[in-house]
């Protein structure tokens, strides 16, 4: 169940789609948001909402990019529904597709994925979360 505080509501509404891909995200402290039962890494609650809105927008944009890469890899027809919840296997990805997707993600985001992590990714959201975590740790 979504649980929003008043503060978090306003933060999310500040999120803007324009985002510098290499924007840095400082290491977390304080509040951790819980949305739909998923815990996002805790995010600095500073009056400078800009950093925060960057974090939220990054997640949405990451998911979108992952969806695009998956659609391309699996040659899904236009209009196919791919969302954060989409499981790779349910979309018809086999193990060769999955490793190609990982390669595509590494190239797109400039990250390097460990074999252990690569295997644990089964959905678009999991891939996006992993990417964001890796991007975060690059600071």
């Amino acid at each position: 169940m979504a649980s929003f505080t008043a503060t978090s509501m306003s933060m999310i509404s500040l999120a803007k789609p324009s985002l510098v891909p290499s924007a840095r995200i400082s290491s977390p402290n304080s509040v951790s948001l819980s949305i739909k039962g998923r815990n996002f890494p805790s995010i600095t609650l500073q009056p400078t909402g800009r950093r925060f809105q960057v974090t939220c927008a990054a997640k949405q944009e990451t998911v979108q990019k992952v969806c695009d890469i998956v659609k391309k890899q699996l040659a899904l027809p236009e209009g196919s529904s791919v969302t954060g919840e989409s499981k790779f296997a349910a979309l018809g990805a086999d193990s060769l597709d999955t490793v190609e997707i990982v390669m595509g993600l590494e190239e797109e985001f400039g990250i390097s994925v460990e074999e252990e992590s690569a295997q644990s990714i089964t959905t678009v959201q999991e891939a996006a979360d992993m990417i964001d975590k890796l991007l975060e740790s690059k600071c």
Binding site: K72, S86, K87, G92, D94, S95, L96
Partner: protein
């Protein structure tokens, strides 16, 4: 000889008794168990199966959770593939009971600690079920199930015409071992290189699935698979009983605490359109000695309808590994 025995059994209608078992007189042709060093390779061609009644029959033998998985697949084609894959596993394993009939629906499965599916024998103490190992692989045009007794098995099937989205060498550099990258780099023709990559992929995948500890415990770049004489530029399509010494070897990582044992490979070309790799563990008494061939029985099936023994035909050609194809 064995078919007479089967007919007798069917007539006597011997059913396995046990809990949760609804006895069904099945129209599955029974087969002898694989012997040691023997592997059975069963496959279906989805395009041959269009009858919705038959597909419903297959769907009905699935467990509730398997049915749920089918519903989660996106689109009719993927749903059909999922149904066929599970039905192939259940009907294939059900054939191997010698003394009585097993309802394919009654088989139970579990996963090992790394997620590899296995037959759950806990429920079958009444049945005298042999220690069957199995592994499946599917492409859109061919779904296969490999079976052995007493040896872990891994299989992988790929369409020869499969195009990678990435450049072949870039892909190899990312995932394969240095020796394999070197081998691929030396192939000048891009098409041959791509085919060689697909072959390597199927063999490596079959190996990891046979070991059964997951992709991350056997990263592809930590072991090298060699297919002897890989630089041969044409595939001999004459039907063969025993392959020439295109031996396939695997060099495991130095730290072999995760991977032990001696593994044997078979590489097949099916219908000129698919590569299929099979990997089984060589029995320990034979390690270090000259390899003896893997005995392989191939069968195309439409479960509940018909089986076809694939032998002495160029529908299936051994292109790697010491193998003897068996008559059924």
């Amino acid at each position: 000889m064995s078919s007479l025995l089967d007919k007798a059994r069917l007539m006597m209608n011997i059913h396995c008794l046990g809990r949760n078992l609804v006895t069904v007189s099945s129209s599955l042709h029974h087969v002898q168990l694989p012997a040691q060093k023997e592997a059975h390779f069963w496959y279906v061609l989805p395009d041959e199966i269009k009858d919705t009644n038959l597909l419903n029959q297959y769907f009905e033998i699935l467990s509730p959770s398997e049915k749920e998985s089918v519903f989660r697949m996106s689109g009719e084609r993927l749903k059909k593939r999922a149904i066929l894959a599970r039905a192939l596993v259940r009907t294939t394993l059900a054939r191997y009971q010698i003394n009585c009939q097993i309802d394919p629906k009654a088989l139970k499965f579990k996963k090992n600690s790394y997620g590899k599916p296995e037959v759950d024998l806990q429920y079958t103490e009444d049945w005298n079920l042999p220690q069957l190992h199995f592994n499946i692989s599917h492409t859109s045009s061919l779904i296969a199930c490999g079976v052995t007794v007493g040896s872990p098995i891994g299989i992988d099937v790929e369409e020869k015409q499969r195009r990678l989205k990435n450049d072949v060498l870039a892909f190899a550099r990312r995932y394969f071992s240095p020796d394999e990258i070197e081998m691929l780099t030396q192939i000048a023709d891009p098409e041959l290189r791509r085919l060689e990559l697909i072959k390597l992929w199927t063999m490596k995948e079959a190996y990891v699935k046979a070991v059964g500890k997951g992709f991350s415990n056997s990263p592809f770049n930590t072991f090298t698979v060699r297919l002897g004489d890989h630089l041969k530029t044409s595939v001999d399509l004459r039907p063969r009983v025993m392959s020439k010494a295109h031996e396939i070897t695997v060099e495991p990582p130095d730290d072999s605490k995760n991977i032990s044992g001696n593994w044997q490979f078979v590489l097949l070309e099916l219908y000129g359109s698919h590569y299929a790799a099979i990997c089984i563990e060589q029995e320990s008494t034979n390690r270090g000695k000259r390899s003896i061939p893997v005995n392989l029985m191939l069968r195309k099936t439409i479960p509940f309808v018909e089986d076809e023994c694939i032998f002495g035909t160029d529908k299936a050609v051994v292109i790697g590994g010491l193998t003897t194809l068996l008559e059924c």
